[in-house]
């Protein structure tokens, strides 16, 4: 047998060069449990030191793997134990010093984001959770690389509606504090239902309490490769479409698995999971929306979009799961509006409404992501949108989230520019009927009957 398979080699190179095949992120999860201290300065010092020690070779190792294997690894990132869990002992009311310590450590080791300024409050708040919630808007405004997330609901616990309202207020305030850059602060904040502990993607990554001391998780990508593969089967029935996506997802995931294994061995850190996600970028040819249009829709958002996305999401998992020894994280197709050329086009053309996006989140990971809303959208309305999204997650046993940007001073039809991977987004309309009394009611939405599975 020939040692060289010309077809396979050239196909791989084509995927990388022309179809934007890449590994989206290597994310190192670091536990901060042993950093706990009664003094805020001591806590911040320990956190900074631990991150700088554990992650000192992360970026260099990522770049070496990139170079040797010839596969781009777009992001190197860090996730840490939710800060609210670690910081309670200080008794402080303001956690922004911790955010600044995380920011300094991230800059020192050269990663492009650090996640974990987080609190898990699906059933209720600890004192520390309250301090963290109160600190989020300032933390996001005063740091560059820190991402924040909160978990406000779960299938097991129901939805904490007090947390939902406060999350709405955080989104509003984070956007207002960064009004000069179109509210980009809100782009670094995610509110989840059923958050996962091993997600490598930002802004929602944190290092869960069930995770080891340090771990390497990898997020794959490759919507451009799937789109190209589907171009070869135009007009064929959906059975063929699904098979083609599965085959392609297998290949994409194998690359992620290879990179994860290499990174784990070189860093001497256990491999956690590969996240089977199709994560788009604003680059042409790296869009999830264009996969949907390739299936026969004129525009993402047209009738049929939810079905197309459901098929895509399922086929990606079926193809990917065989390719990796451990699959986890969010695993599914992402539909961030501002980060996907086809979604931007659809939203600009008026083909994609907030309501259609909500329907799409029922069948994919993760939720209403990177959507620019009018600047006068109230905190209560944002909270009610989050409540709807959390309800979808709670009832359907899946992760859902919102990352919304009420762009200060912007109206429907204006365009918000975030730059880089965060892209640009047209401001889309929000249903203008009131929901403030609903959002302010507070308390807990009980867990659904199917949470009782024992």
């Amino acid at each position: 047998m020939a040692l060289i398979n010309q077809h396979e080699i050239l196909e791989t190179i084509r995927m990388i060069d022309r179809e934007n095949l890449d590994v989206r992120t290597i994310t190192m999860g670091i536990s901060l449990m042993d950093c706990a201290a009664a003094d805020m300065n001591a806590l911040c010092g320990r956190i900074y030191d631990k991150i700088c020690t554990r992650a000192k070779d992360l970026v260099k190792t990522g770049e070496e793997i990139e170079e040797e294997f010839g596969i781009p690894i777009v992001n190197k990132r860090i996730s840490v134990t939710p800060v609210a869990i670690v910081a309670g002992g200080t008794g402080a009311r303001d956690y922004t010093p911790i955010a600044r310590a995380l920011d300094r450590a991230a800059k020192e080791v050269g990663v492009n984001f650090i996640g974990g300024f987080s609190a898990l409050v699906h059933k209720g708040f600890t004192e520390s959770d309250r301090a963290l919630f109160d600190s989020v808007p300032a933390a996001l405004a005063e740091t560059d690389l820190v991402c924040s997330s909160v978990n406000v609901g779960s299938t097991k616990a129901g939805i904490n509606m007090d947390a939902v309202l406060q999350a709405g207020q955080i989104i509003k305030e984070a956007a207002e504090r960064t009004a000069g850059s179109d509210g980009i602060g809100a782009a670094k904040f995610v509110a989840f239902c059923n958050a996962v502990e091993d997600n490598p993607f930002m802004a929602g990554a944190f290092h869960g309490t069930g995770e080891p001391e340090v771990v390497v998780n990898v997020g794959v990508s490759g919507p451009g490769v799937v789109k190209s593969a589907l171009e070869e089967v135009r007009g064929e029935p959906f059975d063929v479409v699904a098979e083609t996506i599965k085959r392609t997802a297998f290949r994409i995931t194998r690359v992620g698995q290879l990179v994860a294994r290499e990174a784990s061995a070189r860093l001497g850190v256990p491999f956690g999971i590969v996240d089977l996600s199709l994560a788009p970028t604003p680059a042409v040819g790296d869009s999830v929306a264009y996969i949907l249009t390739e299936m026969g829709l004129d525009m993402a958002g047209a009738p049929g979009t939810t079905a197309a996305l459901a098929l895509l999401n399922d086929a990606v998992k079926k193809g990917g799961v065989m390719a990796s020894s451990h699959v986890g994280g969010l695993s599914g197709a992402f539909i961030p509006v501002s980060e996907d050329a086809g979604m931007i086009e659809a939203a600009t053309a008026g083909a994609l409404s907030l309501e259609k996006l909500e329907a799409m989140t029922c069948v994919c990971s993760v939720g209403l992501d990177m959507i620019a809303l009018p600047g006068d959208t109230s905190a209560e309305t944002l909270a009610a949108i989050l409540a709807d999204e959390a309800a979808i997650g709670m009832i359907n046993n899946k992760t859902t989230a919102v990352r919304l940007i009420p762009a200060p001073g912007k109206k429907v039809g204006d365009v918000v520019e975030f730059g880089g991977l965060l892209g640009r987004a047209p401001v889309i309309a929000v249903n203008s009927w009131g929901c403030a009394a609903f959002a302010r009611r507070g308390g807990r939405v009980p867990a659904p009957i199917h949470s009782l599975r024992n």
């Binding site: 020939a2 040692l3 060289i4 398979n5 010309q6 396979e8 080699i9 050239l10 791989t12 190179i13 070496e64 170079e67 040797e68 294997f69 010839g70 596969i71 290949r251 194998r254 690359v255 698995q257 290879l258 065989m322 390719a323």
Partner: protein
């Protein structure tokens, strides 16, 4: 364990491509294990070489840079990648 890589050369066909590439590889102490070359679509030169990089003392980064520079001087694209990337995508 043997460390292997794939060298890919793509560009307009001309005299001396294989000679230049293999001379460079031999300078680095890199052994060619297998080689295949063809002309695609009439005039595009494609050469693939499986090479053993176990015993070269040159850092991978430098090998990559020098091959790329050689490619530029001959108006070709020359790249080197570890073999595992290709194997992983097509084998379970």
């Amino acid at each position: 364990m043997m460390k292997r890589a794939i060298v890919t050369v793509v560009g307009d066909d001309k005299v001396g491509i294989i000679a230049a590439v293999s001379a460079k590889l031999s300078q680095f102490g890199i052994n060619i294990l297998d080689i295949t070359q063809t002309i695609m679509k009439g005039d595009v030169f494609v050469m693939l070489a499986l090479v053993d990089i176990t015993h070269t003392e040159k850092p991978f980064h430098d090998i990559k840079e020098e091959l790329s520079a050689l490619g530029e001087s001959m108006r070709l694209s020359i790249r080197i990648q570890r073999e595992e990337i290709f194997n992983s995508m097509y084998k379970v």
